[in-house]
Symmetry: C2
Subunit: 542 residues, 2 copies
């Protein structure tokens, strides 16, 4: 028997309509690409997003069409998020840091009809345009006064487009499972694959982000979205902010420590989110200049593991809470968030930091389990580790256009490719990626563990650990490291350093030095490239 | 185009499964009907709810069957909430304070197959049993040792039933729109009508309750559910607690000020929720005994309007925040909640209390509008008032068995029967119920306003205001009041008192005194009865 409740769809447009009506004068502050700080509010963003939707209709955009963006975090990008998804089309955010060939591959794979571009990326588009045959036009996110000179003849001006609309547009109703946005994975383990979110999944995910045990977003917050809007929907912050009426602060193109810090202070930012690399830059800036944070309450760190030292620096030196979070493009992305429980209140700070170093607790809405090679569930005891599987209403069911084939097992679980532990409080700890784990004589060595220890060796700036085939042990670890400029650290020094914390069988067999390590567009170590580069490497021990 | 996201239903069982797995040792503390305080936790409640579902299956209960409860707030009632809805049946909570005939009407209308009863209500059931022909059995919420002597031959023992189950039951998957629970309205304006919730509506409503701008429930909370579980799902607290892993404290049958206060202190309660009457009793107790609250952070007041003095007493005298909330059985029930916005932080306390006196802000997920008699939307300016309409994924679409006919207009809006204002920040203020408003010479007089002012007159304990027909003005207000024991207050005194705050045309034409005013089972003024009693009353002014 079905219940008797209104059949209202969960639509992305309801988020901005809500804030437009009920938090109309809450600010959205952006560092614009054109230069100055720009201030708008939810009332205006909702009104302009509707005008944009109306304008796209005039351009012939239909429900289901993919519309690309190559843009920084800013208010126009927010308007595009709502305008495109709100009319039932698909907002496809593109990472401009990808290699140009990857960008062309993604745009063509997605079959983007139009692409919104920030001024910064006009040269990129000009270089690529001939490979993007299906794109009808590029909408430059600026006003007439700032329109660039360009050899391209299909450039449109964003503000002119909007000016052509009136106030008559209302958000349409449609099936909540309608595709809303498309985001490709980072390409760390292979070619980027498209994840196609729905209106429903986005609204549900926003509830998870807003939950106090998620990222705890409320109208008391001023949110600095450091994580780019082209990276897994800026971790849902844009939607969560509208759901809760939080102030938004958008950094635009200026992602250096000084610029980020300046915004935090000027806009009384209470919460921020980003990958570890960004926080390293910020902390360096703050330390060098002897600064402190006057409004920041917490920062969300994810995308790669946050090192214990980074967490303790934030918490102990600056009084900023750290929420360590794990997620994937495939999980919208929030899966686990590292808040402490009530029972942790009286623990010594160092134990509290140990807990924060884990990847966080399972958020309601997400189911996680770990399994062995035969898909048997392993205990949630914080010790057993296995393949991490995930299920839930904001988790992917398969990639765009069927790439990668069937991704769910018969009970509907998605295999993350990560290996980790779970405990009785729902905390998850990533051990490694399953492709990166080193299988040595039946035991597993976590490449992440060895990397983290190696970085602690004086003279080492960055380190990657990969598996090299070994006749006796199957695989053994190789450390590939970058030295501090002019430092005389040797392979023996590194191994000697590791001996103090690692078990003997976990010690790397060799250490080689390189000038630079390869990274993905989101700043992660690109181990596929390293494995390719070192595929003929023979260990001394072999 | 549909997106590619897992098709996971939003089920009530996922709430308790989540906390059972991830907040397993968080406590649920109950004052038991048998006597002592009882302590359990989410792990056990989840396990026992599954056993209960298995046991109901053995009794022949099927998906869609209605299963009644006549019970206080306690852990077994929580297990029933999850066990019944989790298996796809419908948990029908019955208000034991209704008149026996109303109870019989409701049970038969719902066609309850089994009814769970607390020991307290055995005499009630014995008296009613002969009128409840369709009920197969009554499951007494106790163990064998406490089973009552009874003339009824279809009493089952709760603990024995559960003991007959093993650990093999898993929560089934089914359509998220499956009916989960049935709750009848309070019967203030007519016969109680059944609202049939769904699994989906309950999960979505729980997100709204957990939101910081809703009731802000998190695992840091210890929640005292004073609002009964038979009154609009205890305002969703049971579900929100499981969603967030909050500790639950259940008062059982002891609802007096002293017992409530004792639990608050002993269980370090941080948040509580209930109707104004309960808080009046609690505040009287606390004042008389010169006590203070050591852990309470906020209290939720709703169901009827919270008086300004009650709010200011909590906030100013006791440092307890008040969240004034409005809702209806038909709205699951949360519609608006009275949290302050960031921009209110620096206002003087008295202005902050003015804001809290409104019925609260629109919660994301709920759409509210006010309309005139021709269904034109009125401005959200905090001044214009009109019929309050509501829409959203946890709002009723119609009553059980079609009572009351079509309830939605063509755009899907439900008419609340309340009259109020909305403002640009989403705050709503109830002016009156549309049936209670006094229409005098084209102007509307709020019966609530006049009542609130009349209560302020020395010597008046309680007052109700109803409309009496008038040849010239259509309707004029009559005050029906209860005097303080032995007080000599007169009708002239009351009118003189009102002259200081009300406009001349709002003044009541007469004041009559009665020994007692009629109330509904949830403690609201029963104006239908008053209108009946005074239907032949002739105003002196007529
Ligand atoms: N807090 C964290 N700690 C450790 N690893 C993390 C954390 N957060 C995310 N990750 C890693 O990032 C992955 C998700 O990243 P993303 O979706 O951006 O693409 P990718 O997996 O790096 O690229 P691709 O899937 O294309 O190979 C996770 O599977 C996990 O390996
Ligand atoms: N904070 C509040 N201030 C004023 N009135 C409130 C408040 N909260 C709820 N109410 C009133 O309570 C009503 C909802 O109550 P409920 O669903 O328990 O049944 P009822 O409306 O009293 O009874 P019935 O619908 O059977 O006549 C609302 O429509 C509103 O009139
Ligand atoms: Mg990946
Ligand atoms: Mg009602």
């Amino acid at each position: 028997m079905l219940g008797l409740i209104q059949d209202r769809p969960l639509l992305i447009s309801s988020l901005i309509e809500y804030s437009g009506l009920n938090h109309g004068d809450v600010e959205i502050v952006s560092r614009s690409v054109e230069g100055p700080i720009h201030r708008t509010n939810y009332r205006q963003v909702n009104a302009r997003a509707k005008k944009l939707a109306q304008a796209l209709g005039r351009l012939g955009v239909e429900m289901g069409d993919r519309i690309g963006t190559i843009a920084w975090n800013g208010y126009r990008h927010i308007e595009i998020y709502y305008g495109v998804s709100g009319m039932g089309s698909v907002c496809h955010t593109i990472n401009p840091r990808l290699f140009p060939e990857q960008i062309a591959y993604i745009v063509n794979h997605a079959e983007d009809k139009y692409i919104f571009v920030d001024l910064t990326f006009i040269p990129l588009i000009e270089a690529l345009a001939e490979h993007l045959g299906n794109v009808k036009g590029f909408i430059v996110m600026t006003d007439e006064a700032h329109m660039p000179e360009s050899k391209l003849d299909n450039l449109l001006c964003y503000e002119t487009l909007i000016d052509g609309s009136d106030d008559s547009y209302s958000w349409p109703d449609f099936d909540e499972k309608t595709a809303s946005s498309l985001c490709y994975t980072s390409g760390t383990t292979g070619n980027p694959k498209g994840v196609l979110y729905t209106n429903r999944s986005t609204v549900l995910h926003s509830f998870g982000v807003c939950a106090q045990d998620g990222l705890g977003i409320s109208n008391q917050d001023s949110i600095l979205a450091v994580v780019p809007m082209f990276h897994a929907n800026a971790w849902g912050l844009v939607y969560a902010a509208a759901m809760s009426g939080a102030k938004m602060v958008m950094p635009g193109a200026a992602m250096d420590g000084a610029s980020i810090y300046e915004l935090m202070e000027a806009e009384e930012v209470t919460v921020s989110a980003g990958v570890p690399t960004i926080w390293m830059m910020l902390l360096a800036h703050v330390k060098e200049n002897n600064l402190k944070f006057s409004s920041m309450k917490r920062t969300v760190i994810g995308g790669s593991a946050a090192a214990r030292t980074m967490i303790s620096t934030f918490v102990e030196d600056y009084g900023v809470n750290v929420v360590h979070a794990w997620g994937m493009t495939e999980t919208s992305p929030i899966g686990t968030t590292g808040n402490l429980l009530k029972k942790h209140a009286d623990l010594p700070e160092s134990e509290r930091i140990d807990i924060r170093t884990k990847q966080g607790r399972i958020v309601y809405g997400v189911e996680l389990k770990i399994t062995d090679d035969d898909n048997n569930e392993l205990p949630r005891d914080g010790v057993a580790f296995g393949d991490l599987k995930v299920r839930g209403p904001w988790i992917t069911s398969g990639y765009f256009k069927g790439e990668g084939g069937d991704t769910l097992d018969e009970d509907g679980w998605f295999s993350t490719g990560d290996v980790g532990t779970l405990d009785a409080d729902g905390y998850m700890q990533i051990t490694d990626r399953s492709k990166d784990v080193i299988k040595s004589g039946g035991e597993w060595i976590s490449s992440i563990d060895v990397e983290n220890e190696a970085i602690g060796c004086p003279g080492i700036v960055e380190a990657a650990v990969i598996a090299i085939p070994h006749p006796k042990w199957d695989e053994r670890p190789l450390v590939i490291a970058v030295k501090e400029q002019g430092h005389g650290v040797t392979a023996e020094d590194v191994i000697a350093h590791l001996e103090s914390t690692l078990a003997k069988w976990q010690l790397p067999d060799d250490v080689v030095f390189v000038d630079e390590l390869p990274h993905t567009a989101t700043g992660k170590l690109l181990k596929t490239k390293l494995r390719e580069d070192f595929k003929d490497y023979v260990l001394k021990s072999a």
